[in-house]
């Protein structure tokens, strides 16, 4: 195989031109002959018993072709636990929950019919906050939780606690009892974040030749296929999912969404059906980054050794478990990451509430746990009187250190990354003068994240014109991985130009199983599967060339569109000539490959209820920012922002810079002004762009970026995912900087001007989380006993 370094280039993306010309047809831009328009009837109450649904009058209305509800979709799906029916079944669990779906000739007709469906409800008590849900005698969101099918064993569950994952390593009680330690305790709370992907969730479904064809805006075609099959009670092979260009995902589209509704309607109406969420529906039922509450306590020596740490994280999953069940796993690697720890115990609990379900969002769980961990670290530094930068340089994870679940980290990465950031800092003057009379603050934070590896498949067809077609179930959601990284990887392996690699859009009838596009896994998992496919293609190509050129395959090399005899330039044949000959003599050349995470070892028994006990590819980040806080208004201006990111190998540095700038800005929105509040009746207050404030061009600064290469990675050519992690420690950096500027403890996000002003004026009461007991054991169902002890 050729040198990895020859794959590195700022290859432009094939899809840019059509996107710039307005020619790209996203799902929302598509239609089919005879297509119907659909809408959902959604609940407008957070908790109720369904007494009666009567659609008989609605069915008679003009243009109506099909109406479906819970009786038409008996299954339940979920992650870890199958708790989620397609339609509200028996009871309403959140405001916005679908009750029925209508397809009609026009959208207006569908909406009119939905409004005419009679729904008789009997109100039930609701739990809106996690404190409500955990109160003694709280009403249960799922009274039948015991009866649900468990899809992954191991998580503790009961009542409104949908899932509990715990980590215990070493003797934490002994660590906290030591006489030479300072004990620092902190609590934090964060709200939800909406992805605001510009293309809403959208689908067109049809039922043809006894099978469903679902064309949808998703990151996970195979999850859509499998969940739809489960909900509709049909074999998964009876569902074909195809995915056009996706207009933004960020994790929102990492779950099955509108697809089963459209599929059911298409089968019932025997016509293609289009279903698209309005912006208001996207705001009210978005699978947001979850709100969370965190209590963390550390025992630290005056030399700065963290000898004991314990934490409890409450994650609001809303009415159904969804992604949060899985994400309880991540606390072990985020709150348990960054620093060398002695004994540690962590509990992550996903809590049911009568609110819209939450979901995955870029560096899910990590964003707020990193905020909490880094603010807590600054509080530790204040308590023991150590400079925060010096503390971090001393305490970050290094070669041979143990993660919270006992995984052994390889190589010193975070330490040298902090040194790199120090170089950036000293190379440029501080922006402090720009603050003028405002309060100035600076902070440097570290973060630990991972690449969500897992099964991927790839097939490559080598065409007789010297091009290659790459068939996978990957989706281009905007990050460029499918348009840039994969063609670069394949072309490098086969000696082609990247523009001669055609990447087929996802189609579950053509590409093999894939976990989906998210978790920074596209370049790594699909790239590795593609590399494996290249090995087969290369072998077949060289066999044919060997016969043509009468040279052993081992003496041949693929480069610049040619098969050459090693050391003799111009000696061989073009790949076109060899591919043509192959087609005639042995048949067209193709190759297939696959990949899955190899699994890194954790200490036996440390982790309970985890989907991943150890992380295959850790990814680290160091962020630094300077802020100015206006003491009159509480407004925070970001003066500078710098990122040192661990990327393994940067295949397309310019594309990674684009991901970092974009990810940091999404993080700035989360840190400073994207606020979601939930009213007393369980409805999200923010209904659109007017009330939900995303960053605008004038809010942002150019991010100074340094890519840290060379850290170990099992990714193809030494790569790591680069698109997910840029958002990881933004809120941490901003919160620490604002805290430094104001001299006030920042315990909550976002740092809106009223919030910051209240901090400055001393009007903000210290956060209390009485529903998280100060005694760690009181917060868990069962304490696991770790067999191994920390060294």
């Amino acid at each position: 195989m050729p040198e990895p370094s020859t794959a590195v280039k700022n290859f432009p993306r094939r899809d840019a031109r059509d996107k710039l010309r307005g020619h790209t047809r996203y799902t929302v831009d598509r239609g089919r002959p005879g297509m119907l328009h659909a809408t959902l009837l959604r609940a407008n109450t957070p908790s109720a018993r369904i007494v009666r649904i009567d659609a008989s009058e609605a069915r008679k209305m003009p243009g109506v072709r099909a109406i479906v509800s819970a009786v038409d979709a008996p299954g339940r799906h979920g992650i870890g636990i199958a708790d989620h029916p397609l339609f509200a079944t028996g009871r309403i669990r959140y405001d916005g929950e679908p009750i029925a779906a209508v397809a009609a000739e026009t959208l207006a007709q569908a909406r009119a019919a939905a409004a005419a469906i009679v729904v008789e409800l009997e109100p039930l008590p609701a739990v809106i906050s996690m404190a409500d849900a955990l109160a003694p005698d709280a009403p249960l969101v799922h009274p039948d939780w015991r009866s649900y099918e468990v899809l992954l064993e191991g998580g503790a569950r009961a009542g409104n606690v949908a899932w509990e994952a715990t980590v215990v390593r070493g003797d934490v009680d002994a660590a906290f009892a030591r006489s030479d330690v300072a004990i620092v305790e902190s609590v934090y709370r964060v709200g939800r974040q909406n992805h605001v992907s510009f293309e809403p969730r959208a689908v067109i479904a049809s039922y043809e030749d006894g099978r469903f064809h679902i064309e949808t805006s998703t990151q996970v075609p195979w999850s859509v296929r499998n969940a739809t099959a489960r909900l509709l009670n049909v074999p998964p092979s009876q569902i074909r999912v195809t995915v056009p260009a996706v207009g933004g995902g960020f994790g929102l589209k990492f779950d099955c969404a509108l697809e089963p509704f459209a599929a059911l309607l298409a089968r019932a109406a025997e016509r293609p059906v289009r279903l698209v969420n309005s912006r208001q529906e996207e705001m009210l039922t978005c699978l947001c980054r979850e709100n969370a509450e965190i209590r963390i306590r550390s025992a630290v020596t005056k030399e700065g050794e963290i000898v004991g740490r314990e934490a409890v994280v409450l994650m609001d999953c809303g009415a159904y478990g969804g992604e949060q069940i899985f994400l309880t796993t991540m606390t072990a690697h985020t709150l348990g990451g960054n620093y060398r720890l002695g004994a540690v115990r962590l509990a992550s609990r996903a809590i049911y509430t009568n609110t819209a379900p939450n979901g995955a969002f870029r560096a899910c769980n990590g964003v707020y746990n990193t905020f909490a961990l880094e603010r807590h670290t600054d509080e530790i530094c204040a308590a023991i009187g150590i400079d925060p930068l010096a503390f971090r340089r001393h305490a970050v994870l290094g070669d041979g250190d143990l993660g919270s679940t006992g995984q052994v980290f390889e190589s010193d990465v975070l330490g040298p990354m902090l040194d790199r950031m120090a170089e950036l800092r000293t190379a440029k003057p501080s922006k402090r003068p720009m603050a003028g009379p405002r309060l100035y603050g600076r902070a440097t934070t570290v973060g630990t994240w991972f690449v969500f590896v897992g099964p991927s498949a790839a097939t490559i067809n080598l065409n007789a014109d010297g091009s290659a077609t790459l068939v996978t179930s990957g989706v281009e959601i905007g990050s460029g991985s499918m348009m840039q990284a994969l063609p670069q990887i394949v072309s490098n392996a086969l000696g082609l130009r990247p523009e001669d690699v055609i990447v087929r859009a996802a189609d579950t009838d053509a590409g093999g199983y894939d976990v989906g596009v998210g978790g920074g896994r596209t370049t790594v998992s699909l790239g590795a599967a593609s590399m494996a496919a290249c090995v087969e293609v290369r072998r077949k190509l060289l066999e044919v060339a060997s016969e043509m050129l009468e040279v052993a395959p081992g003496d041949l090399v693929l480069a610049d569109g040619r098969v050459e005899i090693i050391g003799i330039k111009g000696s061989g044949a073009t790949i076109v000539e060899v591919a043509e000959r192959a087609q005639r003599v042995v048949g067209p050349i193709s190759g297939s490959g696959s990949f899955t995470g190899p699994g890194v070892v954790a200490m036996p028994g440390c982790a309970t209820g985890h989907f991943i006990d150890a992380i295959d590819i850790p990814v680290f980040a160091v962020h630094e920012c300077e802020v100015a806080v206006d003491p009159e208004t509480g407004h925070v201006e970001v003066l500078s922002y710098a990122v040192v990111q661990d990327v393994g190998r940067a295949l397309n540095p310019r594309a990674i810079y684009g991901q970092i700038q974009g990810g940091v800005v999404q993080g700035l929105g989360y840190a400073l002004h994207e606020e979601i509040s939930i009213g007393a009746k369980g409805r999200i207050d923010q209904t659109g762009f007017e009330t939900y404030r995303t960053p605008l061009a004038q809010d942002v600064v150019p991010v100074e970026i340094s890519l840290y290469e060379g850290a170990p990675s099992i990714g193809p050519l030494g790569t790591k995912g680069a698109g997910e992690v840029p958002i990881l420690n933004v809120a941490a950096a901003i919160a620490c900087a604002v805290s430094n500027a104001t001299g006030r403890p920042v315990q909550e996000l976002p740092l809106t001007p009223p919030h910051v002003l209240a901090l400055l004026l001393g009007n903000k009461p210290s956060l209390e989380l009485p529903h998280i007991s100060a005694s760690w054991r009181d917060n868990v169902f069962a304490e696991p006993s770790c067999v191994a002890r920390a060294p």
């Binding site: 010309r21 293309e199 700038q661 762009f689 004038q698």
Partner: protein
């Protein structure tokens, strides 16, 4: 009632109700799906088109009020398959990610650059106050627009 519209230099006719949002007529009747419906409230800018050279959010313009205006959509920026200077520089700078906001961004900037004389980085950011982007973090779009503006100054 038949509405006469001038879209991208061509005379077109619509039978839509005059109160129909222009963006729906462009997309549903003429299949000009470049303009995107993202918020329908005039906040995001993804449906921006030019009306007599001025950027306007087509979700808030009733089609009846667009009759008599020269309506210019993103589909018209490239002539005979050749990208406009602004489109070209966006491609060269690798500015595009998901791409949903770009039709609106391009129309706002096309209208702005046609009038602005030697704009600064801050001027460009101010011009983009009504165009939200969720992917890029803006700066590369601004870099590209600045380069386009400077090229225009040199060429002009």
């Amino acid at each position: 009632m038949r509405l006469s519209l001038e879209i991208n230099g061509e005379d077109r006719f619509s039978l839509s109700d005059p109160l129909t949002p222009l963006v729906d007529v462009l997309r549903d009747e003429f299949f000009l799906t470049g303009a995107k419906v993202v918020c329908r409230e005039g906040f995001c800018g993804a449906c921006t088109v030019l009306l007599d050279g001025q950027p306007a959010v087509s979700c808030l313009v009733p089609v009846g009020l667009a009759a008599g205006c020269k309506i210019t959509t993103v589909e018209s920026l490239a002539r005979d398959g050749v990208l406009s200077p602004l489109q070209r520089v966006m491609e060269e700078y690798d500015a595009v990610q998901c791409g949903m906001c770009f039709p609106g961004m391009l129309m706002t900037l096309t209208g702005f650059l046609a009038r602005a004389r030697n704009p600064s980085r801050e001027d460009i950011k101010e011009a983009l106050v009504g165009n939200v982007c969720r992917c890029t973090g803006y700066e590369r779009i601004v870099d590209a627009a600045l380069a386009a503006a400077q090229a225009t100054v040199v060429e002009g």
